[in-house]
Symmetry: C2
Subunit: 585 residues, 2 copies
């Protein structure tokens, strides 16, 4: 590696330089079509997620524009569409909630600060190639967290749908508060909301198939299905204007300023930064994990690859840009990326064109949204998040592994009962603790020779040959401080169970590491066995483990030998077994 390369590798790469070089008219046409469809879809979604985050609605539009442009430059996925998403908006609302009142200028400033911190964290993780840290969010924890967040979001939108004011710091409080508000339900608002909900659900669940069955071409059916939410919005705006719903107590969106994204600055307040550091970190990691998993799924379908560390840089740049252009934390969204993919987006340029579309909407379209009932936006959010609920994960993990099931349940319950941050932290903690617990009690098998082969397998599972004088154990796990005693216990038990034992063989093929505590334990085992007249041998030690043991007292004092293969050891110590074995062959 040349010195030039060594500093250059720390610079972010610009994927746009690769795909931009081959950009042609055909690609442009595909990208423009996809951008148009994504823009139409993004307008109501971004307004809705801004509402969910407790921010003025136009902030949702601002949070699309610069981030989409920046992702176009830095992103490695060709179809990922970034912007406000449901779970991150919920996390944003939770993080700001304790510092300011929703809707206040301070609240927005803190949202900008959160985007700034989150962007900085993502960028640093990308530059220092720390993408692997996201692996500590296990699949069960993510599933449990997303499901619980979706339920929380759906519950939080019920109040807008019912036209009441409900409060609650967790799912139970929220639901209880809503129950108590049932008598105050605003009838017309509820009717509008329920109608919108049913309409959107119907579209999502089978409208397209219905249209196709009615003889409409698949392509046109898809187009109708996709524009249906926009039709709903147009229809309700019209109805609200004609019947002056706001005079009857229906809450409407009201004035949304017509403007390009403003130039804004995050707050430079160290005390605030300190308090926002943990939420910002969690928002970054959740956003990154969501985004990368969407990106990878879609890339694999086209035999492309995305580079996780490059994604970190791209998401970092997107969030930083959001903090300077009046936005809030963003990440890659599932539905819009799938739509972008299906609509035929070929390069990240599609995202750039969508940014221009949203910019035009922010400049020109917002007055048209004046009469839009808020309940419509709530219905949009609810339908979007209900697809994230995955109760099946409970059944699946229960069948596969009780400890994965425990991680899902812990994350789910704590997220619902306490909150999103606590839920994530408890989930990570529980999954790590259960991993430690599992490895602290390794499976240890007594093994014997499979007749006619050189292989040794568990005596309890296979019909194998054993010797009463030469007993073989296989340890299925690395030896470290938390499990070294359990090996001692098992060996003491083995010695007690085999009164004729002269040689104890440890097959080390599954031992990937031996730490200092386990080494001390092996030293004392060797000592005790020697005193009891039993010789300890080790077989099939792996290279990296042998390298560490090479110069230790343990190897010097070992009463027995080190064998390259377990078969060689048995050949030397218990040749009678081998004769039986070859006869069996």
């Amino acid at each position: 590696m040349t010195p030039t390369k060594s500093w250059r590798q720390w610079l972010p790469t610009l994927p746009i330089l690769n795909w931009g070089r081959h950009y042609d008219r055909v690609t442009l046409a595909s990208d423009l079509t996809a951008a148009l469809i994504v823009t139409i879809m993004l307008i109501p979604q971004s307004l809705a997620y801004a509402m969910l985050a407790g921010l003025p609605l136009e902030v949702g539009l601002y949070a699309c524009i610069a981030p989409l442009l920046l992702y176009t430059i830095f992103g490695s996925s060709h179809v990922l569409a970034v912007g406000p998403v449901a779970v991150v908006s919920l996390m944003t609302a939770t993080a700001i909630g304790s510092h300011a009142t929703a809707g206040s200028p301070m609240y927005w400033s803190i949202a900008l600060t959160l985007a700034f911190l989150s962007g900085t964290i993502l960028l640093l993780m990308g530059i220092f190639r720390l993408g692997f840290l996201a692996n500590f969010l296990s699949t069960p924890v993510i599933s449990g967290f997303i499901t619980a967040s979706a339920l929380l979001i759906a519950a939080s939108q019920l109040k807008t749908l019912m036209g009441v004011a409900a409060e609650g710091n967790n799912f139970i409080e929220l639901i209880t508060s809503l129950m108590r508000q049932i008598p105050q339900t605003h009838g017309l608002t509820l009717m509008i909301g329920v109608f919108a909900l049913l309409f959107l659900l119907a579209i999502r669940l089978g409208f397209k198939q219905l249209l196709v069955r009615w003889g409409i071409a698949e392509k046109i059916a898809t187009g109708i299905t996709r524009t249906a939410p926009v039709f709903l919005i147009a229809l309700t705006i019209l109805l609200a204007w004609i019947f002056q719903w706001q005079a009857q107590g229906v809450k409407i969106v009201g004035t949304i300023p017509q403007s390009l994204p403003p130039f804004t600055l995050p707050l430079w307040d160290m005390a605030l930064w300190k308090e926002l550091a943990l939420p910002a970190l969690l928002i970054s990691v959740v956003g990154f994990v969501e985004s990368v998993s969407i990106g990878q799924t879609l890339a694999a379908q086209r035999r492309q690859r995305i580079e996780p560390n490059q994604e970190l840089v791209a998401l970092g740049a997107s969030n930083l840009s959001a903090s300077f252009t009046g936005g809030f934390p963003v990440t890659g969204g599932f539905a819009r990326s799938v739509v972008n993919f299906d609509a035929g987006a070929q390069t990240p340029a599609a995202g750039g064109f969508a940014a221009i579309g949203i910019m035009l909407a922010a400049l020109l379209l917002t007055p048209a949204l004046y009469y839009l009932p808020q309940a419509i936006l709530s219905a949009t959010i609810m339908v979007a998040v209900l697809s994230l609920v995955d109760i099946g994960i409970l059944k699946k993990t229960w069948a596969y592994s009780k400890s994965d099931f425990a991680s899902v349940v812990a994350t789910l319950l704590v997220t619902l009962w306490v909150g999103v941050e606590a839920g994530l932290l408890v989930g990570i903690g529980v999954s790590l603790a259960l991993f430690i617990f599992r490895t602290s009690q390794p499976h240890i098998a007594t093994i014997g020779l499979v007749p006619g082969t050189e292989y040794f397998r568990n005596v309890l599972r296979h019909d194998v040959l054993v010797s009463p004088q030469v007993v073989s154990l296989r340890v299925d796990g690395s030896l470290y401080f938390a499990n070294s005693r359990s090996l001692e216990d098992r060996i003491n038990q083995t010695v007690a169970d085999n009164p004729k034992i002269q040689h104890l063989l440890l097959q080390c093929s599954a031992i990937n590491d031996i730490d200092a505590s386990a080494l001390a334990s092996l030293e004392s085992l060797n000592q005790h066995l020697r005193e009891a007249g039993i010789t300890l041998h080790l077989t099939e030690i792996k290279g990296p483990v042998m390298d560490k043991l090479q110069h230790t007292h343990f190897l010097r004092d070992l009463s027995g030998k080190i064998f390259l293969t377990h078969y060689q050891a048995m050949h030397e110590l218990a040749p009678e077994i081998e004769q039986v074995s070859s006869r069996a062959n």
Copy 2:
């Protein structure tokens, strides 16, 4: 198992019923001799550790009596002597320090409460067989913690030795404060202290060998060496009385009440209990680990065994008794147990007799200690703890494993700079985090056939046969959420490096577990490889792992096969390799 047995197993057993049955006159004589020697040794030690804990000196004696008796009934070690020990006394002082002033009645009450909580924790851990939890204190963490504690204790005693008042919340502050006090050093106190220190060090380091070389019989030399500390005490008491040292500013022990252990009660204050819970837990675990390691070392020398969960019950009972008889947290002490062992103690009865000895001392001997200079007790403590300092562990772990070294250093530095509780917690946290980190990046080897055998080893370390079409990887670690991505990356790399690859074989002999996240990752790998025209096969899957995989989608959708042995797989997929191999043979 009969139903009677199933509830009986939860009851503590009474080892005294076993050894008591065979008790005879020979054993009695041995035990009595050992008890006398231990009593003489314990008197100054227990006074000194009470002083270290910030308690009235007689509390040290009280803390020996009931605990020794209770351990005699419940303990499974035949030679362990319980009572106040250095590290636990330091931890006690630290825990109480923020709640009361040393020497006040409140301080003592909190010490009783700490013993009560610690006893309860130990007893519950014993009853619920949670002894394995102590395994989470790794050898490096214990070594680092004990060494740092010893240095802290030695530094804290310097002020008594110098006759000054020094304060400090950590090692650095303590040493700085002492430096500033140097001009105020009380000359006579320092002279007495330094003389005592040198005298005790000389005895410990080579006095016995010197006596033997002078022609004195070994047994007599041992006796002289052991009684030398008592001689020192007698001598300094005499000198202090004759020269009226206290009139010259030397701090003396003063009046120690003549009394049997009083009946006391711990404080029933839930707020206090909550604050003491963590210190009590740490004291319990450290005390248990120290005690069990001493007990096991000594038991092994006589081919006896101790039962860790029974030890928890015994230590729990000892601490509970201490809380009701004016004591403070106790555990098994190293020096006194070794002395008990060397002096020929045969059964725990020796401890019971020593309890009676201490009781007599508390009733009759205390007035004689009036003139004892406190500096003598400090010198006793310093010499005792300096033997606990193990700086060699740094060199040893550095050579063996950098991550064990990091655990030692982190524990050592945090204990010195912040305190005992923080040091232990950071040590446990660091050692767990490093374990997770190591397992999150498993060693993955490309393997080939060792010619003339059925074994496969790392291509980088052994001269082995490989096929360009059939590539074999061996994963040296369980697959779980934190490392599943690193397997994906390695497989993608392998595919890129082997353009002719048709079959990818994963040797799973070192995979001890596959969790839900890793399963999801394997599912997507299988999918991607299939799309690239590469078949994925698994070999040598262990029984427990196979049990879990049995009914999963992954196994149903696997493009390749499951082979019992890697050799069978190569035999079927790449027979040409086998021919080369047999020719080599």
